[in-house]
């Protein structure tokens, strides 16, 4: 059992994009690569590897790019869609695991999570955000996801176009809309090339944490 659509946001991922796209195309899925204003050959390589490429004329970040892909497949009438990173850390073989988990659990969003990955800083950040949000998800930043129809419908709306990161804001927005989220353990590989866009420097981590903290507090469900 495999999904019809796979969305891959990519910014300057020329080193890995061709392999990732080719591997996903092999599974029979239609691949949509959203080129987030890359300055390298990402778009050309992705097209050559068999992907439909959407090119952004201004950088929107990982979430803005992903949402573009979601809008595309939504307009094409997709019911379910897989989102994954372009850097090769998400194993293509796990796509069917995620998809199957979505079908079996009926969850609106299934996250492929690997809490073992990442530095202690990342784990500390996760623990902090988990505490603030009151949610029990283990891997908060994973971009490896399967959206069901309701989640897809929710995620294409203009209300969440302003998010700067794809993690907490997206998850809390789904939760607040009453949608369900399930995590499935997935063993992620090392990043093929390049580092995390967020966990790259202390300055960016600080900005990310402060912004996400404010967002989490603002979106927290009243109880």
């Amino acid at each position: 059992m495999s999904p019809d659509w796979v969305v891959i946001p990519a910014q300057n991922e020329a080193a890995t994009i061709a392999d990732v796209v080719a591997a996903v195309v092999q599974t029979g899925a239609k691949v949509v690569v959203v080129d987030d204003f890359s300055s390298d050959d990402t778009a050309t390589l992705a097209t050559a590897a068999g992907a439909i490429v959407l090119s952004l004329c201004s950088p929107l970040g990982a979430w803005g790019a992903t949402q573009t892909g979601l809008r595309y497949v939504h307009a094409k009438g997709a019911q379910k869609v897989i989102c994954m990173d372009a850097d090769g850390q998400h194993p293509v073989s796990a796509i069917s695991t995620l998809f199957l988990a979505q079908v079996q659990t009926g969850s609106d969003l299934v996250i492929g999570s690997d809490p073992s990955r990442g530095s202690w800083q990342r784990k500390l950040a996760w623990a902090w955000l988990r505490m603030l949000s009151g949610e029990s998800l283990r891997d908060l930043t994973s971009g490896f996801r399967c959206c069901g129809p309701k989640a897809l419908e929710h995620l294409v709306s203009a209300d969440i176009s302003l998010l700067n990161y794809q993690d907490m804001g997206v998850l809390l927005s789904l939760k607040r809309a009453g949608l369900t989220i399930t995590e499935v353990p997935v063993e992620m590989g090392p990043r093929g090339e390049g580092a995390s866009r967020i966990f790259a420097s202390w300055w960016r981590v600080g900005l990310y944490l402060m912004e996400t903290t404010a967002l989490t507090l603002a979106m927290r469900r009243m109880r």
């Binding site: 959203v34 439909i52 490429v53 959407l54 090119s55 952004l56 004329c57 201004s58 929107l60 803005g64 949402q67 573009t68 809008r71 595309y72 307009a75 203009a158 176009s161 302003l162």
Partner: protein
Amino acid sequence: MISYQLTSIAIAIVVAAMILYLVRRNRLQGQHSLWWIGVALVVVLLAAVPNIVDRAATLFGVSYPPTLMLVIGFAALLIKLVAMDLERTQQERRIRRLVQRVALLEAKLKDNGSPDL
């Protein structure tokens, strides 16, 4: 020595003239021009009738009238700043949706066999 009233009327006139000039030159439009014209009017009013502040201070129980002026002015600036950020947010949302839509439309064009833009 020039009187206090003359100084403030001069300032008010300069502010008002500047705003009208900017509107005339299409540099400042819509609700923005309204706010700043309002500011110019208030400055003119305060210049023309300076004892308004004193009376208002007495009314609100403020013993040192200039404080009232500063507090109100500061509050107005804060409100204006928040309003500006609200608007910037709105614009940012529109720009992002537009960038996404351009990408979607380009893909559609390509689907229909149009050459690359």
